[in-house]
């Protein structure tokens, strides 16, 4: 389970950034008082346009960023007090992360298993299962730099799952992928959901959200504009379809801010 309470993240602006943004403010608030809960066996989707604060929120959950204020519980573990223990529960996958091109998939998975303290016997069993599942045996000893995008994505998934995380964070996992490679991610989300894992993923693709999520959070300019189940969202819709409703919510915030 993930419990985020009153999360705030501020970044200090450099002189160059202040000049570019045409502001005198020394701080910029990327996430502004966000609270939500993701439950086991459910998929929580964080939806928002580019620069909304989705990635920053997910990076705080993954303990890469420390929140300016607020608290995070990962499976009951205080992620701010015990970041290492919290990280051990998390599998983190983003669409734009690279892999070590000079290693082979086998070596890379072994390395991350070591980092997560997975025992050798367990590691071999899980690796075998994952390699079977994603049909990776053929290229497991090839350098990652020589693999196709689809193959690399499979390696990324194995890397995320090798320590059997109970909480999985996906940050725009399908960005830049073709339909077949995206299908692997969608299958992974569905399988993890069936296994009772807690899943949170960010996206700006409404169709993907509709396909996968149980619970929805719409983020814009660091604020959570909507937090509820997919059914509630659909029942409260004022626009003819999900994408139009998403755009309507974002634009109405713009109008409110303008007033």
């Amino acid at each position: 389970m993930i419990q985020a309470l009153n999360l705030v993240k501020e970044f200090e602006l450099t002189r160059q950034q202040r000049k570019e943004l045409n502001t005198t403010d020394k701080l910029v608030r990327a996430v502004d008082d966000i609270s939500f809960t993701c439950e086991p066996g459910k998929v929580y989707s964080l939806l928002g346009p580019n620069g909304a604060g989705k990635t920053t929120t997910l990076r705080m959950l993954a303990t890469i960023f420390k929140p300016t204020s607020g608290s995070i519980l990962i499976n009951g573990i205080d992620a701010l007090k015990y970041p290492q223990e919290a990280k051990a529960e998390i599998g983190f996958l983003t669409g734009n992360t690279g892999l070590y091109a000079r290693l082979t998939p086998d070596e890379l998975i072994n390395y991350f298993a070591d980092l997560y303290g997975v025992e050798k016997q367990t590691r071999e069993q899980r690796k075998e299962k994952l390699f079977d599942l994603f049909n990776m045996h053929e290229f497991k000893h090839k350098r990652i730099g020589k693999l196709s995008t689809g193959m690399t994505q499979k390696v990324s998934i194995c890397r995320t799952m090798i320590h059997d995380p109970q909480v999985i964070i996906f940050d725009e996992p399908t960005s830049g992928l073709d339909v077949i490679a995206s299908e692997n991610i969608i299958n992974l989300v569905n399988n993890s959901k069936k296994e009772g894992k807690t899943i949170i993923f960010s996206s700006h693709i409404m169709s993907e959200v509709d396909l996968l999520c149980d619970h929805l959070g719409i983020v814009h300019k660091g604020k959570l504009l909507f937090d509820g189940t997919m059914e509630t969202f659909k029942s409260e819709m004022q626009a003819p379809n999900l994408t139009a409703e998403f755009i309507r919510i974002i634009q109405s915030t713009h109008q409110l801010n303008a007033q």
Binding site: F11, E12, R59, A62, T63, I64, F65, K66, P83, Q84, E85, K87, A88, I90, F92, T94, N96, T97, G98, L99, Y100, A101, R102, L103, E107, Y111, F112, D114, L115, Y116, G117, R159
Partner: protein, 396 residues
Amino acid sequence: MIFSVFKKELKDTLRDKRTLRTMLLIPLLAFPLIMTVSSRITAHFEAEEAEETIKIGLVKSGNKELNNKISGAPKMMGDKKLIYFDDSTSLMKAVQLDSIDFGVCSANGFEQALREQRPAITRVFYKATSLNAEQRAAGFLDAVNQQYKDQRYRELRLSKEKLEPLKITYQNIASNKEMLGKLAGGILPYIFIAFGFVGCMYPAIDLFTGEKERKTIETLLTSPVQRWKLLVGKMGVIVLSGLTAATCSLIGLYFSIQFIDTAKNQEIMQIVNGILSPGFIIMMYALLIPLTIFFAGVMIPITIRAKTFKEAQSIITPLNFVLVLPAMVGFIPGVELNWMTACIPVINVVLSTKELIAGTLEPGLLIISFAVMTMLAAAAVLLSHKQFDRETNILE
């Protein structure tokens, strides 16, 4: 956990061709290549010079005796060809045009001065831009001058020995080892520092800026490993790479002296073999390990902040001059290791290594040098840790 990070980073580094080149190949081949090429060039020039006939210009109307004495200069001075000119102006012009190596001309009143047993002015025209022209002219004229001197001793009925009240003999009591340490000892730490720095550079950029550029850092930071452990694991590879590069350069140097025909020097080899004891190697690495950690510690914050490989390289390359330049102090005669120089980073390593080779290193000064470098290395590591801990530096 640190070992897992170290092992992976080492494997990754050893598969990077660019790092392999700077860590192993270039240091290993640098000295054999430099020595082979330079010794061949030197041998070629020496042979050419030995075969070369020196062209000496004389003035026809000049003092005949002087001209004859130059003409009769011993054969050991080299083959010569005398070319006569009408006057000193045409002689100077020939020197100017490089058609002769140097010209000799007696000044007005030359004969009278000789008769009156005063110094007779002899002018030598040469171009300082012509290699060794002055030395070769001096060789010939010293021989001629000696003939005149002997002539005067006879005329004045003087004994040569009576005019030399002191017969000074210089006796060098420094051992060969000491001599090598003081004269050539500066080169060893210089090599180590120069190659050690370059050896650290590429892995440092690859393991930090490279992780940012390739977008692998985010995944690594989500693992439950404390950042200081990641830093130490990576730093271990950078330090090892620096030490390997430096060691390879020394191995290259050793094999050049030992095996390359043109550079082979048995005398130096005997001294070097005498110096290379386990104790010497331990003490040398005791100085060089903190130095390499210091290099890594200085580079890491830069590579963490840099956004691209090029940016990191453009900052570290000039830093190379700042840190490696003090190593040249080892070549300056008279700069010795003392309580003050032992406290100056980098310079203390150079001077300590020099003393170590000469076998004259005081343990107290070694301890100070080691302590200073260790403290500095620790400060550099702390600085690296601080930078690596800053979330904005890591991901942007």
